[in-house]
């Protein structure tokens, strides 16, 4: 299954790109597991996802928790806690 990942703010800066398409590996079922897998993809990813507790996620433009199943997501976004307003 191919999904689009999008990164914002310092997550984007650390990964070094705003988005990418990935194949979700078998065994990765939740958003939290996806972060653990991403952290293993190299130095930039380890820097971005080394402390997943500080990263928020959205599936198809709605906030989700780490335990949320990826399911049939087409777009998953990762970003720091929001600071708008």
């Amino acid at each position: 299954m191919t999904i689009k990942l999008r990164y914002f703010a310092w997550v984007r800066e650390r990964v070094g790109k705003p988005d990418e398409d990935i194949e979700v590996p078998s065994g990765v079922a939740t958003v939290g597991e996806l972060m653990v897998w991403l952290a293993s993809r190299g130095e930039e990813y380890a820097h971005a996802f080394g402390n997943p507790k500080v990263i928020r996620a959205a599936i198809d433009r709605s906030h989700v928790k780490p335990q949320t199943p990826i399911g049939k997501a087409s777009e998953i976004a990762f970003f720091p806690p929001m600071t708008g307003g």
């Binding site: 914002f8 433009r61 906030h63 989700v64 949320t68 970003f79 720091p80 929001m82 307003g85």
Partner: protein, 162 residues
């Protein structure tokens, strides 16, 4: 009650007084209009800044704010709501965003404006970066903002998943 709502995400500056005025123009049922405008300060944590840059998640930012506006309209008897939030580079003294709420009486207008601000701060996908003399840094989220949002204990947005 039908609530007239407007949500806009834009790079360009806006005029808060003009936008708020649109909520009362041509009608006589509004008895209270509350406007909040977020303005770019010239200093952050005691240090002067050159500018703020706001990054956002296009599509999700609009959708999230629409969800809070719908939630506010269910909770309070609102006649109109306007939310405008800018992105891109903003210099000190410029407006960043505004919330305006119109109702027959002040309580609903005050409460809804505060509710919308608390959720915008913690749940709308925007990120501030400040430009200082020695470089750019991302603004950290404040725990006090989370606490302010949690007191409303809403069923909308990210809190529904908790």
């Amino acid at each position: 009650m039908t609530t007239t709502s407007l949500v806009r995400i834009q790079r360009e500056p806006f005029d808060a007084a003009t936008e708020a005025g649109k909520l009362t123009r041509g009608r006589t049922d509004v008895g209270a209009l509350v406007t909040f405008t977020g303005v770019c300060r010239g200093a952050e944590a005691g240090e002067p800044i050159a500018a703020l840059t706001l990054e956002h998640y296009p599509g999700m930012a609009e959708a999230e704010i629409e969800r809070y506006v719908a939630e506010a309209a269910e909770r309070w008897p609102l006649l109109g709501v306007t939310v405008i939030h800018r992105h891109g580079r903003i210099v000190p003294g410029e407006d960043i965003m505004m919330v305006a709420t119109a109702s027959s009486h002040r309580q609903a207008a005050f409460a809804a404006a505060e509710f919308l601000m608390d959720y915008l701060k913690t749940c709308a996908p925007f990120w501030k970066q400040v430009e200082k003399a020695d470089g750019k840094i991302w603004v950290d989220a404040k725990t006090t903002d989370d606490v302010a949002a949690e007191r409303w204990a809403v069923t909308a947005g990210r809190h529904a998943a908790e």
